[in-house]
Amino acid sequence: MNEDAAQNPGPVTHILSSLIERSGALTALLVSKEGMVITEAGDTSYLNTTAMAALVAGMFSATREVARIVGEKHFSILLQQGESRHIHISLIHDSKMMVLIFEDHQRIGLVRYEARRAGEELNSILMPTLKPSEAEQISTPQFKEYALNLIDRIFQAK
C-alpha cells in the first residue's frame, strides 16, 4: 500500500483493521472478482498480495461454477485449512471477496462471526462509487499521451 493510503485509511481499510483486531487474524484483504487487491490490512510482509488476489479470484470463480453444477447460485464462504495457517474467504456484494488469513484454528468460530459482521459493514458501504473529479483527471488526453509514451518505451523490441 502506498503512503497516501497508509496515512489516510478509508472506511474499507478501517473495517478490515478492526476485523483483524477483533478476530486475532493475521491479514485481511479485499479482492475484486477480476483478481485485484482493493484494500489490505494487518501483516502483509510475508505475502505477495497481488498474486494472492489473482489466485483467490480464480479459486472463487471456479467454486462458483461448482456451486452452479450442484444447483446453488454460489457458495458464500470458502475455508482452506492448512497446518499452521488457514484462510477464510467470504463473498461480498457478489463481486468482491474478503480474505482473512489466521493461524489459530481454535478461533474459527470467532473468525466466522467477525467476518460475517465485517461483511455486513462492507456490504453497506461498498455500493459502486466513482469520484468524478478523479475520473476526469485520469481520462484526460494528457494521461493517455503519457501512458502511450510509457508503453512505447517499455515494450521496445528486444
Binding site: M1, N2, D4, A5, P9, G10, V12, T13, S32, K33, E34, G35, M36, V37, I38, T39, N48, T50, A51, A54, L55, G58, S61, A62, E65, L130, K131, E134, A135, E136, Q137, I138, S139, F143, K144, Y146, A147, L148, L150, I151, D152, I154, F155, Q156, A157, K158
Partner: protein, 193 residues
C-alpha cells in the same frame, strides 16, 4: 473498464492472451516477463499440468509507471487453450480490458484457430461485450514453420476487419514485445471512464 483503487492510487488493466491449445500464449507471457527489467514485473504464477499445458491460468503484474499520482499496471493473464477448459477460459475473461488472440500459423491448425476465436466471441458475449468494439489484437505465431497460413486467412474467415495483426515467433521472442505494445496501446486509446 480498468480497476481503479482511489485509496492506494492504482489503475490496473487486465490483458488476456487467448487462443487454441499450444499456440504459444504462455510462451508470449514468459518472454515478456523475462525481457522486462526486474523492477517492473511481479512473480509469474503458472498453473499447469504435468505436460506443461496451462490448466487454469498464467499471471504476472506489470508496472508501467506513475502518471498523475496513479500507479498504472497491466495484469497479464493467459487462458488454457484446450477445448475442455472452456469454463476456466470464460472465468478469466471476466473484467478483461484487452485481448491478444494468439493464433497457431500452421495450416493444419486452421480449424482450431477458428473454433477458438468463435468461443472467444461467445465468452465475451456472455459478459455483454461486443468483440468488434473491444481492444483486440491478432498475433499469427510460429511464423518460422513450414506450411503456414498466409496472413489474411483468419481475418477473411472470421470477418476481422481493421483489427491490428502481427506476426511472431514467440519462442524466439520475435514480435512478442511489438504485440503487447500494440495491444496495450489499443487498451489505453479506447480507455474511457
Amino acid at each position: 473498464m480498468p480497476h481503479i483503487n482511489y485509496e492506494s492510487k492504482e489503475l490496473a488493466f487486465k490483458m488476456v492472451y487467448y487462443g487454441p491449445g499450444l499456440s504459444g500464449k504462455t510462451t508470449n507471457l514468459v518472454y515478456i516477463h523475462k525481457a522486462l527489467e526486474a523492477g517492473r514485473r511481479g512473480d509469474i504464477i503458472t498453473l499447469d499440468t504435468e505436460e506443461e499445458r496451462t490448466l487454469f491460468f498464467d499471471f504476472f503484474p506489470l508496472d508501467l509507471g506513475r502518471i498523475g499520482g496513479y500507479n498504472i499496471r497491466l495484469h497479464m493473464y493467459t487462458v488454457p487453450g484446450q477445448v475442455y477448459y472452456e469454463a476456466s477460459r470464460r472465468l478469466i475473461l471476466d473484467g478483461a480490458d484487452g485481448i491478444v488472440f494468439v493464433a497457431d500459423s500452421q495450416q493444419d491448425r486452421l480449424n482450431e484457430n477458428v473454433n477458438s476465436f468463435r468461443m472467444l466471441q461467445e465468452n465475451l458475449g456472455d459478459y455483454g461485450v461486443n468483440w468488434k468494439e473491444f481492444p483486440l489484437v491478432l498475433q499469427y505465431n510460429k511464423r518460422d514453420l513450414a506450411d503456414i497460413l498466409p496472413l489474411g486467412t483468419l481475418e477473411g474467415q472470421l470477418g476481422l476487419n481493421g483489427i491490428p495483426v502481427l506476426e511472431a515467433v514467440a519462442i524466439a521472442g520475435t514480435g512478442v514485445m511489438e504485440t503487447i505494445r500494440v495491444a496495450s496501446r489499443e487498451v489505453i486509446e479506447r480507455f474511457q471512464m
